[in-house]
Amino acid sequence: MHRALYVDLDRCFGCFTCEVACKQEHDLPVGIRWIKVVQDRPKEISGGLQLDFYPAMCKHCENPACAEACPEEAISKGTDGLVLINPDRCNGCRACLEECPFGLMSWEPSTEKASKCTLCTERLAQGLEPSCVAFCPGKALILTTERLEEPRMLRLV
């Protein structure tokens, strides 16, 4: 089974450290956010309030709509399960941005190409966790090959 990325909703507290870790790791300019921390509005649940946070990033889908949409076949899902963009082939047509059902693709004006979360392939190759996982101060993000069934574990990738 491929690796999956989970967030423990009991441990994520919406500090945005993963967002900035990602920006630094990939030197992303303003406007490109491969991770966005989502904050649910406080909801009323059985008389009390509930507020959850979780980061949203490319889900590296089983059947990626972005790859299907790409006329240049620049996006592919590898044997390791990662959905990656080959920047040499990307022509910047933005078809993938329109087709991603989660709105998690970015478009970089400087290169005029699409970009998105790579799950830090370079770090994975060195045996390191992705920077969002490694630097999470709440230790809320878990990259694992196991299936986590607890109700407060939300699968992100």
Binding site: F13, F16, T17, L49
Partner: protein, 701 residues
């Protein structure tokens, strides 16, 4: 590429960092997983350090202002100008006419204090002080005999129950505590959060007490009432180690949960539940945030918290509130030997503004001037004039209460020096600007919140950019030029740090090799030596305070501006205002210019309950005008159920740095335009009501 181990200095916990450097340039800043205290935890600010150091707007050379333009000058000219002004006012109006105003902790406060003493002024201030940490620290001193800066340590790793009051320690506390709170929760420890806002922390709580802002004192008294009435206190500890319990027992009788419900808006049964949870699940820890320090009853509120800790015997025990291990190691920067208070003659010490009135602020412990008295000395020249302000890492136009008044005061000053990274709003009133090195461009040592649990080096990672200087060098060079070189006698910063480490028989080089020195935590130290109070016990009833004319047992005081104490103001301004909420992205008034952070929260927000928003015709995202009797600002509406319909919360102290020098965003969106430094003040510390003031809102333009 090399990787240097150092520590972050954006705020006080000094989290361990690994900084990658290539060709003298910082390429990456990452957390240090080997750092004992932060344990590899980090925050967004630290990860964005690069964008601070290499920010295009950072000022890299000394400047002087001519009208509205800043002109580059040499260090020689800048230092001669500043030294000349110091000597001029020392001679014309006395050293007390110069105020040292420092701000944000950059691990340099001790230096500012030594410099104040060097030039001979008793008047040193910061926006915090009586409005932050001193009330808690000094309450500890009078209850347990030891000055503890932030009301103890908090032994999260061994606790069974956490009572957290007036702080969001997931975003604003010690890094290591973030994970520790969550670990403790996972282990089954209970979490009680007292906060008017449904914060990130409140969202994780077993019990969230949504308190009316400014009434923590009433809540603490009623928690004591329940714990005593229901016999939940630690009889053995109290009998052996405390004095004044019978007085307290009598004193808190009227403070029932029903009494507190009317004041705090927290249901009496919730107060009972919290008291039982806290007392029965021991060991319990209590963490008190800055919120209660920003009230005119700051000292008594902190005293109440100290006594609550003592009542259940959780002083200096595993899982409770351990006291710092002060004996083995004292932060050398916090000692009298370092600060040199004896340089100010006795008769001039008496001139410290507010010292005669607020005995615990102006005395030898806190050694600070009373902020409102400083503004008065500037504006009314009473009891004597203040003519110059030497401002270090502070942005007074944003950081002090009642911005309009601060502006009038700063404008009247004849000379203002500003030492900082950027031309902040305050710069438009300054005369000389000196460019400071960031913490990665200078050497230093740190010891985590002054806790004395660990000592670590903060080695310089890169040379200062442009002509920026280590602040320590600025103090040394200025002292030379005013003829006081003997008090800053070191040839270099390294030599000075070697001297600081002398008592530990270690050089700075050796400390850098060791990386970190840990001092193990020791519990129940009082069993050997007693408490360092006059009675040797925990002083629930404090004779010392009584003799000074202060309440010997903690009391409740209604906030002076509130729906109950000033109904006439409340008719015009019916909502209660919060301006102190913290985020993980910004530290005080800083960091708004950092692109990676600003992108996440681009503008200041005002939290409004949906019912209140609807009543005012305000939709999410609308611009909202928030007005208080002091002034008005505009912020974007964040409509949320996480706040009471009778309360609103404004993002703290905003400005728009991208608009450049001379801009007036400090008037447009800075929450301190709304706040007040009016009397009454805390009788012991002079703290003013900075929170829980009154306001009104309307749909803005």
């Amino acid at each position: 590429m090399k990787v240097v181990k150092t520590a972050c200095c954006f705020c006080k916990p000094f989290c361990g960092l690994l900084v990658s450097v290539e060709d003298g340039k910082i390429v990456k800043v990452e957390p240090d997983p080997e750092d004992h205290m932060s344990q590899g935890a980090i925050c967004p600010k630290a990860l964005a350090t690069k964008q601070l150091i290499y920010h295009p707007d950072r000022i890299l050379n000394p400047m002087k202002r001519e009208g509205n333009t800043w002109k580059r000058i040499s260090w020689d000219e800048a230092l001669d100008t500043v030294a000349g002004q110091i000597v001029r006012y020392q001679e014309s109006d006395g050293p007390e006419s110069i105020v040292i105003a420092h701000g944000t902790e950059r691990n340099l406060s001790g230096y500012a204090e030594r410099f104040a003493n060097t030039i001979g002024t008793p008047n040193r201030m910061e926006p915090g002080g009586a409005q932050c940490y001193w009330p808690r620290g000094i309450a500890c001193k009078y209850t347990f005999g030891e000055m503890v800066y932030y009301l103890f340590e908090f032994d999260y790793s061994n606790t069974n129950c956490m009572l957290i009051i007036g702080m969001n320690n997931l975003l604003a506390g010690h890094q290591a505590y973030r994970s520790a709170v969550l670990d403790a929760k996972k282990r089954g420890a209970k979490l009680i959060v007292v906060d008017p806002r449904f914060t990130n922390l409140a969202a994780k709580a077993d019990l969230w007490l949504q308190i009316r802002p400014g009434t923590d004192d009433a809540l603490l008294l009623s928690l004591m009432n329940v714990i005593i009435e229901e016999g939940l206190y630690d009889r053995t500890f109290i009998a052996r180690w405390a004095i004044g319990f019978p007085d307290l027992q009598e004193h808190v009788k009227p403070f029932t949960p029903e009494w507190a419900e009317k004041i705090t808006w927290i249901k009496a049964d919730q107060i009972r539940a919290a008291a039982r949870m806290y007392a029965r699940n021991g060991p319990s820890l209590l963490e008190l945030g800055v919120a209660t320090d920003q009230s005119p009853n700051s000292f008594q509120t902190a005293r109440a918290a100290c006594i609550l800790i003592a009542l259940i015997g959780n002083v200096d025990v595993p899982g409770g509130n351990p006291m710092y291990r002060r004996a083995a190691y004292v932060d050398p920067l916090l000692t009298h030997e370092f600060k040199l208070p004896e340089l100010i003659p006795e008769e001039r010490l008496k001139k410290r503004l507010g010292a005669d009135t607020y005995k615990l602020l102006g005395g030898p412990i806190a050694a600070m001037a009373h902020v409102p008295a400083v503004w008065r000395a500037i504006l009314e020249e009473k009891p004597y004039p203040i003519k110059a302000m030497l401002t270090f890492w502070s942005n007074p136009l944003l950081s002090y209460a009642n911005t309009n008044k601060v502006y009038q005061a700063l404008r009247k000053l004849e000379f203002i020096l500003l030492v900082d990274f950027f031309l902040t709003p305050t710069a438009q009133l300054a005369h000389v600007f000196l460019p400071a090195a960031t913490f990665l461009e200078r050497d230093g040592i740190a010891n985590y919140y002054g806790q004395g649990l660990a000592l670590l080096p903060m080695p310089k990672v890169i040379e200062p950019l442009g002509e920026c200087w280590d602040d320590k060098k600025i103090f040394m060079e200025l002292s030379k030029r005013i003829g006081k070189a003997q008090y800053w006698p070191w040839a270099s910063v390294e030599e000075h740090i070697d001297e600081l480490l002398g008592p530990m028989e270690m050089s700075y080089e050796q400390l850098k090799e060791k990386k970190q020195i840990l001092f193990p935590r020791e519990y129940r130290k009082y069993e050997q030596s007693g408490f360092k109070t006059p009675s040797g016990r925990v002083e629930i009833y404090s004779k010392e305070l009584e003799e000074m004319g202060y309440q010997p047992l903690p009391i409740y005081r209604e906030p002076p501006e509130s729906p109950y104490s000033t109904p006439e103001i409340a008719r015009e301004f019916p909502l209660i205002l919060i301006t102190g909420g913290r985020t993980s992205l910004y530290n005080h008034t800083e960091m708004r210019m950092i692109p990676w952070l600003r992108e996440i929260q681009p503008e200041p927000l005002v939290e409004i309950n949906p019912r209140t928003a609807e009543a005012h015709g305000i939709n999410p995202g609308d611009m909202v005008r928030v007005e208080s009797p002091r002034g008005s600002i505009r912020l974007k509406a964040n409509v949320t159920r996480g706040i009471d319909p009778r309360v609103v919360s404004c993002s703290s102290r905003w400005w728009y740095p991208e608009r450049g020098p001379g801009d007036e965003s400090w008037l447009e969106c800075n929450s301190n335009v709304l706040t007040s430094e009016d009397p009454p003040y805390d009788p012991a510390l002079g703290s003013y009501q900075l929170r829980a003031l009154l306001c009104r809102i309307s749909k803005g333009d």
